[in-house]
Subunit: 349 residues, 2 copies
């Protein structure tokens, strides 16, 4: 997408819609109500990611007011961590199913995606990032990436950098990504550009960490518009933690190989290959991968073929080493130690 | 079922099968292997309840040895708390699906149920229970109930009591129960017998508590053959806790009404009726009902229409009051305070 109006759907200021409860976000109620009326829907399912779940009841209230008495609104209580993480039970059993807070991973009529773009200003933090980026006269190229909730400002970001004299390199990653310049916690293909430095505009530590791991030859500058800080991604501490897990797993006699049953998080071939090659590996299927659920299995180490975030972010919370598929290959001696890299996920489902 | 041989399937001593890893249980490998061969199965799913999950890898090893190279064995990593709690994802996607540790809730060709009967002796604890039961010359009748894992000894229990001079009253509960005299944590219909005292043979506190709540006019004697203690069920502490939750929920402005999506734990009409009657009630759908998952919803109280154990056993772990459907009716003033009773669950799915 190449002009700002293309992103206006989720931007409250560009719609006339007044929400009683929260002026920061546009829940695109008109689009949802249109779908309800068109399909004569009796049941409507709403799915919010964890951080937005508390907004569900208000959105349900608004929809109740705008629709017939007979419409049943259901809120998904399943944990949700991405566009890869649809509540398929609710999706299959409701006439209209709305997934809030993420951009589409796949085109499907079954799901209405409402992205919920952030309205935080990005210009101040972009200005601050100039002190950390190499200046254009020295390093003219800069790659630009951001997360789904700031995509509505992507052209503004690009224009700012161009105005400062940079050549801005962007690309759309792969099928897993909706927008040019978008990154996911599990996919940084949009940063595969011809530039020695990458500017990441967004919050959190996880995304830029993966970015820096995936592109060790590039400097990754993090401009966080929510916490208003500019930093350079540092992978050292993270690498130490990963090598620690690999070393602890080297003595494992029994391996649990996790296949995640969530619609967009399964890597069946990867799981199958490990099992086929190792008599001491057992396939365990589950949707949510949590320490509690694995506690009851008598395993010495685990390999997670599901969401990479589970391994790299939650890893230390598990009672036994939890490795990525690549780390597993190192631990069992199939690959050298220095082949360690960030686990990423490509394709959709 | 009326004679002991009917239960011999799950009783290791009555089979010639030697298990390398655990002589206490009979996993009925022959029956499973027969099904694998008959169906030319490529994928086999194994589901164990929480307490037995660690046995999964050994059972998988044994099955690997007994079947072709090409057979993929998968262990369900989903939490499992009963015959009502099938891993439907795995069930639908495997050629043979085995559910261990519970008796069938419904006849279906999709599932091979392997009950895993306990081999603990029941005679010593039955003898001890005579000190607590009213003697037969005073109160001739006694109801007899037990849980799935001791069902293989049910006739032995009955014969013992008859030998002591009691009239033993038993019945099969309803569709939800497989065997005469069997109780579930959510269903005590088998104790609806003409007797003033009930002997419950089994472990745990939850089952006899529900039993005593459901039958307040009867004395419930608990003979626990695992911990080797005989007690009388006391509901007072439990009742106080339940009334406390009801009182705290009386001021609730927003209600979360949980509909559980597990195959055997959904009470859709109950959930729907609450929503239809109360504009401040919101329907939340989920499979596992955990404190973590509800933390993100901004509700003042919850009603759980799923597994009764969640409310009555886990209830205090939730950050807001968690009520049974009956308790909800009291909290909103539709029913009097003294209508409080144990939540039970009838029918299958």
């Amino acid at each position: 997408m190449s002009n700002e109006s293309a992103y206006s759907e989720g931007d409250l200021r560009n719609t006339g819609m007044a929400l009683k409860h929260d002026r920061e976000w546009d829940y695109e109620l008109e689009r949802i109500v249109d779908a309800i009326e068109e399909r004569d829907a009796e049941t409507v399912g709403l799915q919010f990611p964890e951080g937005l779940k508390r907004r569900g009841p208000k959105v349900a209230d608004d929809l109740r007011e705008l629709t017939d008495e007979g419409t049943t609104i259901m809120l998904s209580g399943q944990p949700c961590y991405g566009a890869c993480d649809l509540d398929t039970y609710l999706m299959k059993r409701t006439d209209v199913f709305v997934h809030f807070g993420h951009s589409p991973m796949k085109n499907t009529d079954k799901v209405i995606y409402v992205p919920l773009f952030s309205n935080v200003e990005i210009r101040p933090i972009m200005e601050e990032s100039l002190d950390t980026l190499a200046p254009p006269e020295e390093t003219p190229g800069v790659g630009l990436v951001t997360t789904a909730q700031h995509m509505n400002r992507f052209d503004e970001m690009r224009e700012f950098l161009e105005g400062e004299g940079y050549e801005v390199h962007t690309r759309r990653g792969d099928d897993r990504l909706t927008h040019e310049g978008q990154v996911l916690g599990c996919n940084y293909a949009s940063a595969d550009v011809e530039a020695d430095q990458i500017l990441y505009v967004g919050g959190g530590k996880f995304h830029p960490l993966g970015l820096a791991m995936e592109h060790p030859e590039k400097t990754v500058v993090i401009a966080d518009p929510v916490n208003n800080v500019v930093t350079v991604a540092d992978t050292e501490k993270f690498m130490k933690q990963r090598y620690g897990a690999v070393h602890r797993a080297m003595d494992a006699e029994k391996w649990g190989v996790i296949f995640c049953t969530k619609i967009g998080q399964g890597r069946w071939e990867t799981a199958q290959e490990i099992i086929a090659d190792n008599d001491d590996a057992y396939l365990i299927t589950m949707d949510e991968v949590t320490p509690d659920r694995l506690q009851n299995f008598d395993m010495d180490a685990f390999v997670n073929t599901g969401c990479p975030r589970i391994t790299t972010d939650d890893g230390p919370r598990f009672h036994k080493p939890m490795l990525t598929p690549g780390e597993y290959e190192i631990a069992v001696g199939n690959e050298p130690l220095d082949s360690l890299e960030f686990d990423t996920f490509h394709g959709t489902w």
